[in-house]
């Protein structure tokens, strides 16, 4: 596994972009080369973003294999979580097997602050599409996204402070433990000393929808409440896309920041990083908190989209699913994780069923492919780790690390 990667000579200094555009005519390539570097750099992401934003407008004309707009919302939410998880796993190298806990925390924050759950009080602040007389707490969903992120980040810090000192695999187990406890707490939380906190297995539903309110609707025609709008999915999709772009932007900027470099230093050699004066605990806790922040926002947004938070959504499988996205895309590589996230959540939501159907038609026997989805993810994880541990779009530094190893050569013959 080691040798071929080295022999390719595609080290970090190989010319990036050298072989891209080999299919373009020479003149085009030259014209492209004359453009200023910043334009070259942002042209492709910009094009993709514009195409993505226009997707609801041309989606009907696409062949059936393309996802529906509603599916895309879910795909984007999961991708957002994967990008958040990537900060913890990819940047800082802390294996988190309980990320679903943050998703749950975000979803339930939305459920508490924008539903009829707490019928003892009636508090409204900027809520849309709901009668003023309705009981319960109703905050503006935009505010809730921020609150959910902050509360979840706080939860991340609380979980992280005692546990982040543990070495890698123990940390994985502790996070897994939290990932198991929180759903059970949510399921049993309908009677916390006589108080109905989470409404048990029924979950909390409905949850208020985001929207721009009556004033803005009359002024510029944006919907007052997404849920009641005729173009519901479209508006949810655009908001989700904006949130994802924000997450990706923050993620990229963080990676190149002082904090991001500290994370990568810790990932590569904790002892050396500590010797260079990086405060290990604080840096790791930041990774945890920021990763949790985005998980919380994504969870809250998903809850408002589904208009409900249900304990059956929060299983260990989701944590592994998200981890699988990160690994498939390439740990630490933001664009890789976005690709991996979109790909896997597409497979999960629509792809496997569609592929299964065409597969069943070919062999003339009905096979329920989605039933085996987690086997497929397991297979992807194993194959990726064995044959392409750097992921689909490798992060440069990670690639080097995995190809050459961070370990000394062993003395004994491994092949014996």
């Amino acid at each position: 596994m080691k040798l071929p990667t080295r022999m390719k000579g595609s080290g970090p200094d190989a010319h990036p972009g050298e072989d891209t555009g080999g299919w373009m005519p020479a003149e085009v390539r030259q014209a492209w080369g004359r453009l200023p570097a910043p334009i070259q750099r942002i042209a492709l992401p910009l094009l993709l973003t514009v195409l993505a934003f226009l997707y609801p407008k041309y989606a009907e004309n696409l062949p059936g294999l393309f996802p529906a707009v509603g599916t895309l919302v879910i795909m984007i939410v999961f991708t957002m979580m994967a990008v958040g998880l990537n900060i913890v796993v990819g940047y800082a190298g802390l294996l988190d097997l309980g990320y679903v806990a943050f998703y749950a925390a975000g979803a339930y924050t939305a459920a508490w602050f924008a539903s009829l759950q707490f019928e003892q009080v009636s508090f409204h602040f900027g809520s849309v599409g709901i009668s003023r007389e309705a009981v319960g707490i109703h905050l503006s969903v935009w505010l809730i996204l921020l609150i959910a992120g902050t509360l979840t980040a706080l939860a991340g810090i609380i979980i992280g402070l005692p546990t982040l000192r543990l070495r890698g695999d123990y940390l994985a187990i502790v996070t897994l433990g939290f990932g198991e406890i929180i759903p059970q707490f949510v399921r049993n939380g309908d009677n916390v000393f006589g108080f109905d906190l989470t409404h048990g297995t029924f979950g909390i539903s409905p949850i208020d929808s985001p929207g721009f309110g009556k004033t803005l609707e009359d002024a510029i025609g944006v919907p007052a409440s997404f849920q009641q709008s005729f173009e519901r999915e479209q508006w949810f999709y655009w908001t989700a896309l904006a949130l994802l772009l924000l997450t990706v932007f923050c993620s990229v900027r963080l990676r190149d920041s002082r904090l991001g470099r500290a994370w990568i230093a810790i990932r590569e050699d904790e002892t050396a990083a500590a010797a260079m004066g990086i405060p290990l605990m604080r840096t790791k806790t930041w990774a945890y908190a920021i990763g949790a922040f985005f998980g919380g926002i994504a969870g809250a947004y998903y809850a408002t989209f589904k208009s409900g938070a249900f304990p059956s959504d929060f299983y260990f499988n989701i944590s592994v699913f998200l981890l699988c996205m990160v690994i498939l895309g390439g740990m630490g590589s933001v664009w890789g994780v976005v690709l991996g996230g979109l790909l896997l959540s597409y497979l999960d939501q629509e792809g496997l069923a569609k592929l299964g159907n065409s597969f069943s038609e070919i062999i003339g026997q009905q096979i329920d492919v989605p039933k085996y989805n987690f086997g497929v993810y397991g297979l992807i994880i194993v194959l990726m780790m064995l044959f392409r541990p750097t992921g689909l779009i490798p992060e440069r530094r990670r690639k080097k690390e995995l190809a050459e190893g961070v370990h000394d050569e062993t003395l004994y013959d491994e092949s014996a």
Binding site: M1, G93, L95, L97, L161, P162, T163, R165, L166, R167, G168, D169, Y170, A172, I173, V174, L176, G177, F178, E180, I181, Q184, F185, R187, N188, D269, E270, T271, M281, F316, V320, L323, C324, I327, K371, Y372, F374, G375, V376, Y377, G378, L379, I380, I381, V382, M385, L386, P389, L402, G405, V406, H407, D408, E409, T410, L411, Y412, D413, E414, A416
Partner: protein, 373 residues
């Protein structure tokens, strides 16, 4: 830091992993807490907690002694089954420092294979003659153990061996993937339904001590577990192969230089662990009469908790931890006086795991990566 420096030489500096020069046990979050609270307060809180626990156990005992003992026996039996699985985790962790997530699924597949043997190959029913029953069950046990051993060794060969020099997270992530893969093998092979077998080992009373009844199925579990454990202890402590295992887990390079075939030793460890998982699968099936493809994961986590509780890498620790967990579970589900009930079992077990890892990462009996001692 507490244990690392208190108890003699630095434990287990494993050579395949340079970061192990990074101190291992001052992971204890006591350092964090010490900043906030004086140490005596933390110890006092711990003692109060243990005291309340003892009061709770005694209170329940006073409520109904015979019920208490029956529940105790259930806990002991479950603990024995967990112990067989936990030993597999501990053996593998001791030698590779790898949490083999797929181990629980080897256990489940072992149980599923056993269910097929019992249902279709031997076609056992409750009316089968006792001698035939015992022979067939012995054959089932052997087959499940061989199956588990072969499966576990192949997993190591295919998935973990290539990653031995990769960063430490790589094999761990692979193990998680492997676990999902194995679950789906079970799903494809045996479907989503529970595989139920007739109650072959009757739950009639074998003998009674006072008002406490010892049922056959529980006694049988203990009767199988104890010899297996004795055999394992003998194997690791007294044979050449066991010596090679201990040497490899202490220092693979030095062991290789002394002529130990490291790869074969690691394979042997996986065979041993797989065999134990297969045996545990059969025992679980006989005791609870059902098995499903996804049960291994849950039980695997519980067994892993047990291994950590007792001090991972420590064989007797794994057993102590497993029995502790078995008792906690049984007490929580079976007792009636101020008991949270089965809704909270998992939270309690995992809460305990977290508390142990945070406050006493070396476990009850201390972590000893070189197996045995």
């Amino acid at each position: 830091m507490r244990s690392g420096e208190g108890s003699g030489p630095p434990p287990n500096v494993s050579p395949s992993e340079p970061i192990s020069s990074q101190p291992r046990t001052e992971n204890s979050a006591l350092d964090t807490l010490r900043g906030l609270l004086p140490r005596s307060v933390v110890s006092a809180l711990g003692l109060v907690f243990v005291g309340l626990l003892i009061v709770w156990v005694i209170g329940n005992f006073a409520q109904s002694p015979s019920e208490f003992f029956n529940v105790f026996l259930i806990g002991l039996t479950n603990g024995a089954v967990y112990g067989l699985i936990a030993l597999g985790y501990t053996l593998v962790y001791g030698i590779l420092q790898l949490i083999n997530f797929a181990h629980g699924d080897v256990f489940a597949l072992g149980g599923l294979v056993a269910s097929s043997m019992i249902l279709t190959v031997f076609d056992l029913t409750t009316s089968t003659a006792a001698l035939v029953l015992v022979l067939a069950l012995a054959a089932t046990l052997v087959i499940a153990m061989v199956f588990g051993a072969g499966l576990n060794a192949s997993i190591e060969l295919v998935a973990y061996r290539r990653l031995r020099n990769a960063p430490r997270l790589a094999p761990l992530i692979t193990a998680v993937g492997m676990s999902f893969l194995l679950q789906n093998v079970g799903l494809i092979g045996w479907g989503v339904e529970y595989q139920s077998i007739p109650r072959l080992v009757p739950n009639s009373i074998a003998f009674s001590l006072g008002s406490v009844d010892f049922q056959w199925n529980k006694v049988a579990v203990l009767l199988i577990t104890i010899p297996v454990l004795l055999g394992l202890t003998y194997l690791v402590k007294a044979t050449r192969q066991g010596k090679a295992m201990r040497a490899t887990s202490q220092d693979p390079e030095a062991a290789a230089m002394m002529g130990v075939n490291v790869n074969r030793t690691i394979s042997f460890t996986f065979i041993l662990a797989g065999g134990l998982a297969g045996a545990a699968g059969v025992l679980y099936l006989l005791n609870f009469t059902t098995m499903r493809y996804d049960q291994g994961f849950q039980l695997g986590l519980i067994a892993f908790t047990a291994a950590v509780l007792g001090g991972i890498g420590n064989m007797s620790g794994a057993l102590v931890g497993a029995i502790t967990i078995g008792l906690i579970e049984a007490f929580n589900e079976g007792l009636s006086w101020y008991t949270p009930g089965s809704d909270w079992t998992r939270s309690i077990v995992f809460g305990l795991l977290i508390a142990i890892l945070v406050f006493r990462p070396e476990g009850i009996l201390g972590e000893r990566t070189p197996e045995g001692q």
